[in-house]
Each structure stands twice: as structure tokens, then as C-alpha cells.
Symmetry: C2
Subunit: 345 residues, 2 copies
């Protein structure tokens, strides 16, 4: 039978009140007594019944998500997942709210973080923008004892407790590896070039993906020439136009890697005027559009991060922190999913 506080009290020869003081780190317990109680806790293998504890303190954990108001399919998806989680949250004594901030902007994000430092929610998840001011604001939250999780986009060098997102460097390398393999047998025969499309080089994820992509191509497939990065600002119309121009300019493009959003423009351009040499296209994020494109062969591989998993994971991690519980590492690791036509969910 699982030991309870009563068992601890009896075994340690103290009262329930003292056990309670030790468990909840309240003051007014002599050091020797505290140690005695703690050793009994260890010996009996007592674990606090979180359900009963939460019931007793009728505490609800207010968790706040800060998400960019970006119109991209992926961010809309994150948004949706947060809403869904919020609707489910009541059952689990969690109160999830969200704040939308302008995408890629530092000042509004920092202001929001500062405000939250005052409001003191039980946890904060944010899609980070990589800037020193943001880092400082996050560190201040953590210093105040508020757990912080970065979502989708990390904030290296900060004190954030956890990152719920993929390794973008690995994503770029994965794209490079697959592209190289798909094109390989011919790479030796003739000159082939690879086009790369990004949203903006100011965004950390895009930079990292590109870096991984370039470095692996350089080391493993040196005969493939990577063209200068095209920046489409994650905007379908712009992406579409840039690509059409490219296809007219060059006929030797064998592979294409799109690290950012704006996939609708990409797909449209590919369907309208695809270079004959183009034999492999890799893009990010599984949406209804990219899904269709995979199925009809317009895109060959989609690299994906599971937005639902990321949001649920962020919540689990924040809750575990609030309850002072351990997390299952394997469960919180966000995978880089490789989707092809045949393994679509």
C-alpha cells in the first residue's frame, strides 16, 4: 500500500503538521527533525499524491502562451492547438490563456514578458525571437521563479527551462542528405545546382536550417552547387514570383529546399513552370497544401514538427515544474518527422 503522510508522521514520531511543514518547505522545523522526517520519507518511498494535493489546495495553474500573429499555416496551427488544449485544460486544473504578439518583433514581446513578470502566472511558453532584450526578459521571469518554455523557436543562452521544438540544424542536414541521395547517381556526371528558399535570414530557425543544409552538402555532396539564398519573406505571392524568375534564369536546377513558409506560392510555381532538371523538392511543415503536393508528386519530402505535440509537451513540462514533478524525457523530445507520400498520417 502506498504510504501516506500519516504513515510518515507515525514512522518519524512527529505530528502531521510537522510532516506537512517539511513537505512544503515551511519554516519552523528544527534541522534534526527535518532530516529525520526526510529520511523516513525516503525509506518508506513516500510520494506525494499530486491529485489529492491539488484538490486540497484547489489551485489552478494559469499558463500563458505567447504566440506570433503570423498568418502562416503553421502558426495558425499552433494557435489552434493552444485553443484546443485550453478547452481541455479545465479537467486538469490548468487555466491556459494566450497572447498574440506581432511576429518577429522584439519590443512587443519584451513588453508582454515584463507584464507577465508582474502577473506571475504558473508558467509561460513563448515562440522566441532571438534578441538580447528578449533573453533578458526571459531570464528575469525565470529568476522570479516562473518556469519558461520556448516553443518552436529557441532562445539559446537564456535560462529558459525547456525548449519544445526541433533541432533546426539537424533539419537542414536531413534535407541535404535526402536531396543528395535522391540526386546522387547523377551528381558525378553533370553540373547540377540546388536552389534554396528562405523566409528571412533574420530568423534563427531559417538560418540554422540553412547552415545545416549547406555544411552537409559541402562535406558529403561537394559536386552539388548551392545557389544564393532567395528570400521570400514567407509570403506565398512573393515566393511564387521569385521562383518563376529563377526557373527562367536557370535550367540546371536539380534540387530545391525551402526552409520557411509560403508553401502555397512554392507549389503554384512548381506546377506552372518547373525546370525539367528539377528532380527533388523538400519543404517544411505538413499542411493541407503540402500534403496534397506530396500526394501529387509536386513535393518529394516534407520535414515536419508536430505542432500538437509541441503544445502539449510545453504544457506538460510547465505543469510538471509547477507540481515539482519529473518529466519523461523521451516523451518531451520533439521529433523531426520526415514525411513522404507513403507515410502520411
Amino acid at each position: 500500500m502506498k504510504p501516506t503522510v500519516h504513515d510518515i508522521a507515525a514512522a518519524a514520531g512527529v505530528s502531521l503538521a510537522t510532516v506537512d511543514r517539511v513537505l512544503n518547505r515551511r519554516s519552523g522545523v528544527r534541522e534534526v527533525t527535518r532530516e529525520r522526517v526526510e529520511s523516513v520519507i525516503r525509506d518508506l518511498g513516500y510520494v506525494r499524491d499530486v491529485a489529492a494535493a491539488n484538490l486540497a489546495k484547489r489551485r489552478v495553474y494559469p499558463l500563458v502562451f505567447i504566440i506570433p500573429d503570423s498568418a502562416s499555416s503553421f502558426m495558425r496551427r499552433i494557435n489552434r492547438e493552444v485553443r484546443e488544449a485550453a478547452s481541455r485544460a479545465a479537467i486538469e486544473r490548468t487555466d491556459i490563456s494566450w497572447i498574440e504578439v506581432p511576429a518577429f518583433e522584439v519590443a512587443p514581446l519584451v513588453r508582454t514578458l515584463q507584464r507577465l513578470a508582474e502577473e506571475r502566472p504558473a508558467g509561460v511558453a513563448l515562440v522566441a525571437v532571438d534578441a538580447p532584450e528578449v533573453r533578458d526578459a526571459v531570464d528575469k521571469l525565470v529568476a522570479r521563479g516562473i518556469p519558461v518554455v520556448t516553443l518552436v523557436s529557441d532562445l539559446p543562452g537564456s535560462k529558459r527551462n525547456h525548449y519544445a521544438g526541433i533541432d533546426n540544424l539537424a533539419a537542414g542536414r536531413t534535407a541535404a542528405h535526402l536531396l543528395g541521395r535522391f540526386l546522387q547517381p547523377r551528381t558525378l556526371e553533370e553540373g547540377q545546382s540546388i536552389a534554396v528558399l528562405a523566409g528571412s535570414m533574420l530568423v534563427r530557425d531559417h538560418r540554422e536550417r540553412l547552415e545545416g543544409f549547406r555544411s552537409l552538402l559541402a562535406s558529403d555532396f561537394p559536386s552539388l552547387e548551392v545557389l544564393p539564398v532567395l528570400e521570400g519573406r514567407d509570403d506565398p505571392a512573393q515566393v511564387h514570383q521569385i521562383l518563376l524568375e529563377l526557373f527562367q534564369r536557370r535550367a540546371d536546377i536539380a534540387g530545391l529546399y525551402s526552409v520557411g513558409a509560403g508553401n502555397r506560392g512554392l507549389i503554384r510555381a512548381l506546377k506552372e513552370q518547373r525546370g525539367a532538371a528539377l528532380r527533388a523538392v523538400i519543404a517544411h511543415e505538413l499542411t493541407e497544401h503540402t500534403r496534397d503536393a506530396l500526394l501529387d508528386g509536386t513535393i518529394d519530402v516534407i520535414l515536419n514538427q508536430d505542432a500538437g505535440h509541441e503544445v502539449r509537451s510545453a504544457i506538460r513540462v510547465l505543469k510538471a515544474r509547477a507540481d515539482e514533478l519529473a518529466v519523461i524525457d523521451a516523451q518531451e523530445r520533439i521529433r523531426l518527422d520526415i514525411f513522404i507520400k507513403e507515410n502520411l498520417p
Copy 2:
């Protein structure tokens, strides 16, 4: 504020006892009263506080896992994940136990299921063997109100409540697609053959993977010739020998797909004597061995199902059934993971 039973009682103009009777489907409530209470429950959006409920009835859910005593890395992994889940289970009012049965055998599995039908645990998860007797035994459990989840290997046609595993047909197709793409540019030039290695054609997963593999190759890459299936009984030594023989017999093998276990033998054979024409190898299950083989280039792609996810998912589904709660479908969908050197976890 979340409504409680008290709010329901007050709003419906009945006592707590009556609300309780309605909530727990106890008898002794007039139909009109029951309907009134139920409509109030809907109107106020009452949801039972499962934590409090479980606390009150101090019920622990005994869940039983039936797993084959197979020595394969994957089954050992499943075994380990069940143990780990069991050690964590105390916190969540679940009591997880497991029974090992001889792999691939029908009679012992059926006997175990029959015994469980008497013991009436709160839920059963099993690695199914595809036989009518097993199906009947499972159906009997379900008929008795005991939720059943199949794990890793499904039992089509049975009344099992859920399947926690991958789509093996899709797995085979995925392997075929990747193999085809990796070999493609040369497929037209010369005759190339594809070797396929399975544990046993008596096992459903292997049959399905192979079926998917063959059908996609036939339709999308008809120039690739698939050799007759080699059966290695999932035994490393046997796999090793079979492959060495094959490599001596044929020099034109360009691709290899291993649908089953015994990967250590596969890797050893590849390292000792790999045909020069062999340019793509795909196998199943990420273990320390296959991981190393991916990293050193012996294997190109590993298709994987996350054992930890499968076990945790099975538990969540069984618990949700016992608590009469809904599950998050997306969370319980077991993905077919594609791993290459670059996206290893």
C-alpha cells in the same frame, strides 16, 4: 468557476444523492428526474473531476500487458518501457503488471486471455498473434466490459478497442518508395534486383510490410526485380548466414529491405561482404545496433515505431476507457518514423 455536483443539485432542485445516482448510473431515479438532472449537467457544462473521483473511490486500475518473451531488441524494449511505466504508475492510480508468453504461439496467449477474463482487470494490452482463437478470446474480454488494446501487432476483425501500433502496409510502401528513389536514376539503365528479408511469413506485420513493399515497387518502379523472400526467423545468426550466401550467389543486388528483426546479423553480413552494387539498405527498428549502422553508413534508412510512445499510448487509452474519458486522437496515433543518419534522436 467550474461547476461541482453541488451546483448541479442546486440547479436541478434535487439532492446530492440524486445527482450522484444519475452521474454513476445507479438505479432508483425516475426517468423525468434523470433527464432534468442530465440537462442541467449539460447546461452548466459540468465535467466530473476525475482526480477527486478517483481519490474518493480510492480505486487503482489494474492494467495488464501481455508481451511475447521474444529476445529481439524491439520486444525487449517494449518490455522495458512497460516496466518503466509500471514504476511511474503509482503516482497515477494505475497498477501495471505484465505477463510474458511464448512468442508467436496461440495456445498460451489464449489461455492467458481466458484467465484474465476471470480476473477482470481494468484493461488489457496485448501483442496479438493473428489467429481466430485469439480473436475470440479478445472479443470475450471486450464483451465482458474489459477494454482491450492491441500493441505493435493488430488483430483485425476483432472487437479490440484500440490499436497502438503502426500501419505496416504503409511501412512497406515507404520502404519501397525510398528504395526506389535512392536507386532511381539507374533503374532504367541496367537490371537491378532487390533482396527482401523477413522473419517469418506467418507473422502478420511481416506479411503486410512485404505486401506494401511489393505493390508499390510494382506500380512505381517496375524495372526493379524483387527476389524471393528470405526467411531469417528474426535470428541474427541465421540472417547472417543467409545473406552471405545471397551475396555470393548474386552480384546485382542494388537494394535490400529487411522487414523483421535479427538486425545484428544483417549488419555483420553487410560489413563482411557487401555486394558492390548494393546502394541502399532499409531495415526496421531503431536500436543501438541499427543506430551505429546508420551512422557508419551500413544502413541507409531505419523505419521505426516508438516503443515508449506505444506503451504510454496504450496506457492512456485504457485509462481513458476506465475513467470514461475521451482521448486525443492525434496524440494516440503512432507514427511511422523515418530515421536517417541526420535526424537521429
